[in-house]
């Protein structure tokens, strides 16, 4: 699998909500790329626009939400797809595309697909796992119906028996006994519901799975189980994941790359190693220090003063400046853009502290320091051998 090719490219996308008292910019000029087989973590607090962004990418937003600009380019993989799905249900209708046999991958703008193309594109290429498993499953249909209707819609040539067999296989894949196929959602436990949603998401072997806080409602042990299996499946099947959560400490463990959102804007993107070792944005820094540590000396922590802004009254300039310890005059007036701080590290930050023209003195020393204490005081040999550490795929 070619790990370094892009599968999704989001270019300066904006989402507005038309509210009675003015327009709300829920997502403001956000760009990022997702590589094949990569786990991209999207972190932010409530109201940061992280979910809206996910819904915008999959074009699931409903009025009054409106995508006002931007493009979402999807790079379709040609070779790996089985033919019968591609020929009949190619969401790209351009004929020369089907004829092309070269390796060149031509991107498709998801935002420009027609309704019909969109229907074919959905789930086939991009699946979603919703936040609340209880609410994402139709309470009056059993699992089999909900699993096979997606097959029915996208693979009409499959026979009924084949569909049922595929459904059983999927359940087995996520660790549910296939005899639960006829169960209704209310008969399943929270963990099983979330597993079955993942099974549905895998039904068509999509290229991308967007997960919107998929395990927030679950207990840590179950959450860990599911994530472990999910990442194993990812390695096995080769899809990419956009993982949305407010739990940065979890994200650092499972994601390859992390993007931090605040008030609808992307404030920092970095590999998770870089982020945990030297977070650049004061907000990221504050977030990292909002999670008490399990080991090492106990320290007084303060979190971030104030609370996230109301999207209807976002402070001018950098939206974080009222809560920022390092804010200076430029922060109140100029909106920061993402700066590439270091081409090699691929770490981007939207903060005037790193803008040499505005802040010639350079970033404060305390921010550049190693942020997290070493974990050496923790005895892993003792008693923690029951759950595996989630394997992370290193960026090559």
């Amino acid at each position: 699998m070619n790990n370094n090719t892009n599968v999704l490219e989001v270019n300066s996308i904006c989402v507005d909500y038309a509210a009675s008292n003015g327009t709300v910019h829920a997502v403001d000029n956000v760009s990022f790329t997702l590589k094949r087989g990569e786990v991209l973590g999207l972190a932010g607090e409530s109201g940061s626009g992280k979910s809206t962004l996910a819904y915008a990418i999959s074009r699931l937003l409903r009025p009054p939400a409106l995508i006002t600009q931007g493009e979402v380019l999807y790079y379709q993989r040609k070779s790996a797809r089985d033919l019968n799905s591609m020929t009949q249900h190619d969401f790209k209708s351009t004929p020369q595309n089907a004829a092309e046999s070269s390796d060149a991958i031509e991107p498709v703008d998801i935002l420009k697909l027609t309704q019909k193309q969109l229907r074919a594109f959905r789930w086939q290429e991009l699946a979603m796992v919703f936040q609340s498993a209880m609410n994402a499953l139709n309470p009056v249909l059993n699992l089999e119906v909900q699993m096979t209707d997606v097959l029915k819609a996208h693979r009409p040539d499959m026979s009924k028996d084949e569909r049922a067999a595929r459904a059983k296989e999927l359940l087995r894949l996520v660790g549910i006994a296939p005899d639960r196929l006829r169960s209704y959602p209310h008969e399943l436990s929270g963990g099983m519901r979330q597993r079955s949603i993942i099974a549905i998401a895998l039904a068509l072997s999509p290229e991308i799975i967007i997960m919107d806080e998929p395990t927030t409602a679950l207990d840590v042990v179950v959450q860990r189980d599911i994530l472990t299996e999910l990442l194993a499946l990812k390695d096995q099947l080769g899809f990419s994941i956009i993982f949305i959560t407010h739990d940065l400490s979890l994200l650092l463990e499972i994601a390859d790359k992390v993007a931090i959102m605040y008030a609808g804007k992307l404030v920092e993107t970095a590999s998770s190693e870089n982020l945990s070792e030297h977070a650049l944005h004061p907000y990221t820094y504050g977030l990292l220090h909002s999670f008490p540590s399990l080991h090492g000396p106990r320290r007084k922590m303060t979190g971030i003063p104030g609370s996230p802004p109301d999207l209807r009254a976002v402070p001018p300039g950098c939206p974080f400046h009222p809560r920022c310890h390092f804010a200076f005059s430029a922060c109140k007036t100029n909106v920061p853009t993402l700066l590439n701080t270091d081409a090699q590290m691929q770490q981007h930050v939207a903060c005037h502290l790193y803008d040499a023209t505005l802040n010639p003195a350079g970033p404060p020393a305390s921010l550049a320091r190693e942020a997290l204490p070493n974990a050496d005081s923790y005895d892993y040999a003792q008693g923690t051998a029951m759950i595996p550490v989630i394997r992370k795929e290193k960026l090559s």
């Binding site: 607090e45 436990s189 099983m192 998770s272 399990l294 996230p308 923790y378 003792q382 029951m386 394997r391």
Partner: protein, 383 residues
């Protein structure tokens, strides 16, 4: 009534700027003790043909804990483990099926509304969801004024106004005058939780039972509220029960930690002891599953086999819980005796204790502990 007897010191409160207790508690005074409390919730409806055996949710079994002035005890467990029930039992909202609760050494008996109110003057509950625990139709001032009036801490409107202002200052809501007339929906989550804390303080309690006080708040403001509670605990020598599902914040907040699984408290002791040297298999599982960014660095490629028995299994139903130790169905180290009865408490030194046969049991001989039983090895291989 027992609680009444002990209030004499605190009821005759004198108004001053900050409502404080007349006699500050000395740190370490035992305020509230629960001994072997148990709570069954009978399931409603007619149980036809059940031969009298009423079905019930066995929410809490044999829970004991002590709250001391100026100290916090954390109760850690998954949702549905019964930790909220423990808090509500201690708050007098439920009556325990069996077991006793002692307030300053006197057994609490709340037989009627009046006695209950007298008890609640000392023990107050902070709810998880600040969006739900404030009445949307009432102002902040109303929320704080009611407990002041009910418990006779104020007598005139002016006193009420001053007392409310001082409460708001105590929970760091500045400027307090601006908050009195606000409605809950005009406040942010963190501000609401502060108001909820202020309401509990208005009663002038000795004990605060904080039921996941920050889990509904945004990540960046959780610590603020947590620090506020810490400050109140330290300054006013409150006894705090801190209920959480996040074992890291238990370590941050509380001197002692108790771990609860499916209605049973399985391990307890000083927080650092419990968290750095977990003994009960469940505590170990919980710790290894907790998100931990540090692990990323130390164990990047390490992968350990997960016993399938643990994976893909979830906590048992409390309507029909397993006999004995309720964790035995998922425990990789389970022994036959585990399904027979719940192990007694084993002291491990330094105040650390657990309920697990692996570390001995008053009534079992130590040889069972010494070597893993054949069954245990089988289980691990079979997995």
């Amino acid at each position: 009534m027992s609680a009444e007897k002990h209030t004499n010191g605190t009821t005759a409160s004198i108004m001053n700027e900050a409502i404080t207790r007349n006699e500050p508690l000395s740190p370490g005074t035992i305020l509230l003790e629960a001994e072997h409390i148990r709570k069954d919730f009978p399931l409603g409806g007619f149980q036809v043909g059940k031969l009298g055996a009423q079905r019930a949710v066995h929410a809490v079994e044999n829970a004991s804990l002590t709250l001391r002035a100026g100290f916090a005890t954390a109760l850690v467990g998954e949702s549905g483990s019964g930790k909220t029930t423990v808090a509500r039992l201690l708050a007098g909202m439920y009556v325990a099926t069996s077991g006793s609760i002692r307030h300053r050494g006197v057994t609490v008996r709340a037989r009627n509304e009046g006695e209950l109110r007298a008890y609640r003057r000392h023990v107050q509950l902070i709810f998880q969801d600040p969006f739900a625990s404030l009445n949307p139709v009432h102002t902040v001032g109303y929320h704080l004024g009611r407990p002041l009036r009910i418990h006779g801490h104020i007598h005139t409107d002016e006193e009420e106004h001053q007392a409310i202002l001082s409460l708001l200052r105590r929970v760091s809501l500045y400027p307090p005058e601006q908050f009195i007339e606000k409605f809950p929906h005009q406040l942010s989550g963190g501000q609401r939780q502060r108001v909820a804390i202020a309401r509990a303080l208005a009663v002038q309690p000795e004990v605060l039972l904080a039921d996941e006080p920050v889990s509904m708040l945004d990540v960046s403001i959780r610590l603020d509220v947590l620090n506020l509670l810490l400050r109140l605990k330290n300054e006013e020598q409150l006894g705090v029960l801190f209920i959480t599902h996040d074992i890291a914040s238990a370590r941050y907040f509380a001197e002692d930690t108790l771990v609860m699984y499916a209605g049973q408290i399985v391990e307890g002791g000083p927080s650092d002891e419990v968290i750095q040297h977990p003994k009960h298999p469940y505590t170990q599982l919980l710790l290894s599953a907790a998100p931990d960014p540090d692990r990323m660095k130390t164990h990047t490629q390490q992968s350990l086999a997960i016993p399938t028995k643990v994976a893909r299994s979830e906590p048992p139903s409390l309507i029909n819980p397993p006999q004995g130790c309720r964790f035995h169905l998922r425990c990789p180290k389970a022994m036959p005796v585990c399904s027979e009865r719940f192990p007694a408490r084993t002291d491990l030194g330094a105040g650390h204790w657990t309920h697990c046969f692996l570390y001995g049991d008053e009534s079992t001989t130590s040889k069972e502990v010494a070597a893993p039983s054949p069954l245990q090895t089988n289980l691990q291989e079979g997995a």
